[in-house]
Symmetry: C2
Subunit: 156 residues, 2 copies
């Protein structure tokens, strides 16, 4: 059974899921920063996914990039599967701007994490929930206890 | 017509090409660091490629990751499409080790570039040329003047 790695659970809010991947929002409010986690057990590398899952992953990744581009109008999307610290396969999707605190450098370790205010967070999640149609999107509205489980998802 | 961006031409050696992408080796010898550049004009984002090209890209990316894993036996592959500085779509593939100078951080900007010796470079390219079969691989053995053009490729 798929279980979300505790580090990802600690660092992110759950947004919803596509057919293959869980969709997370990183808690760092410096950037619109979403993460796809394919719901497959103990997979650490993209090339360890089946060919079918790899194709589904790039579809979900591009769909997410398109939606993030339409919502945030970034200068550039940054897409990355690093995972040197957290061993569960996860793919970063970060909308980058010339005014963001790390530009033009990669964001990791560039600056101190900034928290979302409850209002900003609610607004960001609502906008994502209403924009992320396609690829069997289901929004998440579970409780803290449901996080990382299969509970709390609904089709908008 | 596809033209390789001059910054990528300056920073990399050409290894060969797959059906969709040019394969480059970054000149920084600190890491086994290869870069795929889809041979499509003026594309900056993965999601701007056609669906067919996206699927081909993930196939070539995973094939490259598998080959790099079999040659270098890294702890982790780092895959990233950033492109904040160089506007041509290019996807980094870096084999990471616990002993490398940036571990566990991302490599960009982490340490001074190290040059390959001519012997190391020749050995690295030869090994790649003999391992990168599949996805219509063609090795490159052109001259400096051919770099970035369609000249100098051959099927091993």
């Amino acid at each position: 059974m798929f279980e979300l790695h505790p580090d990802l659970q600690r660092d992110c809010y759950t947004v919803g899921q596509f057919k293959l991947s869980l969709i997370l929002l990183h808690k760092d409010a410096n950037y619109p920063w979403l993460i796809l986690v394919p719901k497959r057990q103990k997979v650490r590398e993209i090339h360890h996914l089946s060919e079918e899952d790899q194709i589904q992953l790039i579809k979900e990744s591009s769909h997410l990039s398109e939606v993030m581009t339409s919502i945030y109008a970034p200068v550039k999307m940054n897409i990355a599967a690093l995972g040197n610290v957290v061993p569960q396969l996860h793919v970063h999707h970060i909308a980058r701007f010339k005014e963001d605190p790390a530009w033009p450098k990669p964001i990791w370790g560039a600056t101190e994490q900034k928290e979302y205010s409850p209002e900003e967070l609610e607004k960001r999640l609502e906008r994502l929930h209403s924009s992320l149609v396609g690829e069997d999107f289901q929004a998440w509205c579970g409780t803290e206890e449901d996080a990382g489980s299969n509970q709390g998802f609904f089709t908008p």
